[in-house]
């Protein structure tokens, strides 16, 4: 035992030395700034006549998209120095020291050129501390495509800085009666360029984009019965895919685009059914005494979140497609509706009625970590996710008529999309266009 004493002493010394060495570490547990200082310069004309309106629109759309992303802190343009008005498409052409002086971390520069009706835009994103080009692209299109070019560049910037492309170069489908009847409409994700897609002169409801983003599924009373229709956006071709007696509503494309889930009441009370893309009936998924409606696919296509009143009040349930087993997801509210499974699969958004008003909540698919995202005013309903899972679009009647709003997934950054005076509801966000 005595022989081991020096060994113990050595071990003790080594341990104390190791502890002293650990104590010398520096631990930083949060960034000093939770937004990236961004300098967004005006795009400069190159090789053509200046078109201030084009430059202004590029700047405005980019600024709005990047502001909604919530990642950036915009450096005041009034502080910009001479490099802001110098063309700089390569890192060797940029005076990074000027931008470092302003504390900028990421810099956006670009040029545009208008030749007749053709617009060419060069956009660049620079890393200022490391003095390097992060990403850049040349966009060629018509002058009328200037907003879309700006959205696409914003998506590219988010892709570079977050690893996931933004959802701005996409479309939002919605229902509006601005033409006199509730019809299907389509607009940019910032509310611009709304166009009407249907002219059924009846009642159109519940649109859903196909995974490719080029096709829409919706319910219409055109033939007197609430039937399911499919419409190709670019060709305008339209077909009725489900016209069973009773309800044919809330159709949703499977994530792999191989099937549809919808609510049919052909057997009495509304139940969830699995249909082929052509509308052929494949399988009845629910069988309860209550109403089962509003299916929403999990990203892996194995489960559905639905609304069921099998226990009395409407609640969110999860249905396994293979086994047919179901489990209750929400238990805290008296009236939960319109579930929407996020594209990342991590949360399910839904609306809950409390004190006569609807607000938006999210919950994990295992039923934990329920969070309330909105606190009125008005009824906030029909939440749908952006394709990247960053945002939610929903309808609100806070101003009288229903309007569409967008918020970040944590409930911050609420922004109105549709103009006042016209109604809009039942939104759906397409994949990248």
């Amino acid at each position: 035992m005595r022989r081991l004493r020096p060994l113990f002493l050595l071990l003790l010394l080594a341990a104390s030395w190791a502890m002293a060495a650990r104590a010398a570490d520096i631990e930083i547990t949060a960034p000093g700034q939770q937004t990236l200082p961004l300098a967004l310069t005006r795009f400069l004309p190159q090789g053509g006549a200046p078109a201030p309106a084009v430059a202004e629109e590029l700047h405005a759309v980019l600024a709005a998209d990047l502001d909604l992303a919530g990642i950036f802190r915009f450096v005041d343009p009034a502080a910009f120095l001479s490099d802001a008005v110098q063309v700089g498409l390569f890192s060797t052409q940029v005076d990074f020291s000027q931008w470092r002086l302003l504390g900028v971390e990421v810099l956006i520069k670009g040029t545009y050129s208008v030749q007749g009706d053709q617009l060419t835009v060069e956009g660049r994103l620079f890393d200022v501390p490391n003095r390097r080009l992060l990403t850049g692209r040349r966009f060629v299109g018509r002058v009328a495509d200037v907003r879309r070019i700006a959205h696409a560049f914003a998506d590219l910037i988010l892709k570079e800085l977050t690893g996931v492309a933004g959802p701005f170069d996409a479309r939002i489908a919605f229902i509006s009666s601005r033409s006199g009847h509730k019809e299907l409409w389509l607009m940019d994700v910032d509310g611009h360029g709304a166009i009407r897609l249907t002219n059924h002169r009846s009642l159109v409801l519940n649109p859903d984009f196909s995974p490719t983003g080029k096709e829409l599924l919706f319910t219409s009373y055109r033939a007197g019965n609430p039937d399911l229709y499919r419409k190709e956006i670019f060709t305008g071709q339209e077909a009725r895919v489900s016209s069973h007696p009773g309800l044919n509503i809330a159709g949703r494309y499977a994530p792999d685009n191989s099937a549809l889930a919808a609510t049919l009441s052909r057997d009495g009370d509304p139940e969830i059914y699995l249909l082929g893309r052509d509308g052929a009936l494949r399988k009845r998924l629910t069988s309860s005494f209550g109403i089962d409606v509003d299916p929403s696919w999990s990203p892996d296509g194995r489960q559905l979140a639905i609304v069921s009143s099998r226990l009395g009040a409407p609640q969110i349930f999860i249905v396994d497609l293979n086994s047919g087993a179901s489990r209750r997801l929400t238990a805290n509210g008296k009236y939960d509706a319109t579930p929407a499974w996020s594209p990342t699969g991590e949360r399910i958004a839904f609306t809950r009625q409390e004190k006569g008003r609807f607000d938006i909540y999210t919950i994990r698919p295992d039923g934990s970590d329920e969070r309330r995202l909105t606190f009125g005013p008005g009824n906030l309903e029909h939440p749908r996710w952006s394709p990247d899972g960053r945002f939610l679009v929903y309808s609100s009647d806070a101003g009288g008529k229903k309007a569409l709003y967008v918020i970040r997934a944590d409930g911050t950054g609420s922004r109105r999309l549709t103009p006042p005076g016209v109604d809009a509801s039942h939104p759906a966000w397409s994949s990248v266009w």
């Binding site: 949060a30 700034q33 990236l36 990642i71 971390e105 501390p129 977050t162 960053r390």
Partner: protein, 264 residues
């Protein structure tokens, strides 16, 4: 004789020894009180700022560790001002008062002695006034100068402290330059567990000599933000008291994990 009769005024008039002693004690007490009163009044009226120490300023720099405790001092530390060098004319003018021997080096001093010109006398008088004014100004400056031993900066500091731990200073500098949005992580759900280890070396003059990732986080956005923070921190605002060699910096988001749970 009773005690009452001893203390009567009549007895004092007649020169009773006890009464005389009481009178002396009374007079001494009066004198001492008068002296005390004069001392207090005189001290109050004649107090000079020369011996007073200026107020101590406590500056808490947002709870950030500071390298130099005097960094928050409102005015720069002043050295004792040197008294102004006497003007040649004044020196020469005083010299004849002390000694009657004429000086060869100061021919101007001979003028007032041998010449009774009125204008010259007035000019000399003005010069004497200016010299006196300068001396008074110098005395005032000296009186108002901040003595070197006044506690400044931190409450118990005396201006000679080496400062806080240099590692705490480096930590604050890097953290201030670290910009990362929780929205920009590739997988924000793992924010509570994300961590990167970086070895850094700072020279004594506050220059980042090298940094090396020992354990990247695996999230490219997180690691890129750390690189940007280190590049921005390559020159610290102040030098360090010692060289920091191979110090491990652990970057994580423990304070942001609540937000991570909200996101997505």
């Amino acid at each position: 004789m009773s005690e009452t009769s001893r203390l009567s005024p009549r007895s004092a008039v007649h020169g009773d020894p006890l009464t005389g002693r009481l009178l002396v004690a009374y007079l001494v007490s009066l004198l001492l009180h008068a002296l005390l009163l004069f001392g207090v009044i005189g001290g109050w009226l004649g107090s000079s700022p020369r011996g007073d120490k200026p107020p101590v300023y406590y500056v808490d720099l947002m709870h950030k560790p500071v390298l130099d405790p005097q960094a928050g001092r409102p005015e720069p530390r002043m050295a004792q001002p040197a008294p102004p060098a006497p003007a040649p004319v004044a020196a020469a003018e005083k010299a004849p008062a002390k000694t009657t021997a004429p000086s060869k080096a100061t021919p101007a001093t001979r003028a007032p002695v041998k010449d009774s010109d009125r204008h010259l006398q007035e000019a000399l008088q003005r010069r004497r006034d200016e010299v006196a004014l300068q001396e008074r100004m110098a005395a005032l400056r000296q009186a108002q100068a901040v003595p070197m031993d006044v506690p400044v900066g931190l409450p118990d500091a005396r201006g000679r402290e080496a400062g806080v731990d240099p590692q705490a200073y480096v930590q604050a500098a890097i953290q201030q330059n670290w910009a990362l949005s929780p929205y920009s992580l590739a997988d924000p759900a793992k924010m509570a567990k994300i961590e990167a280890w970086v070895w850094i070396t700072y020279s004594k003059n506050g220059r980042l000599e090298s940094f090396r990732f020992e354990k990247p986080s695996g999230d490219p956005q997180f690691d890129e933000s750390i690189k940007r923070a280190l590049v921005k921190s390559q020159q610290l605002p102040n030098p360090l008291p010692v060289r920091l060699e191979n110090v491990r910096v652990i970057f994580n988001l423990k304070e942001l994990k609540t937000k991570a749970e909200v996101w997505r």
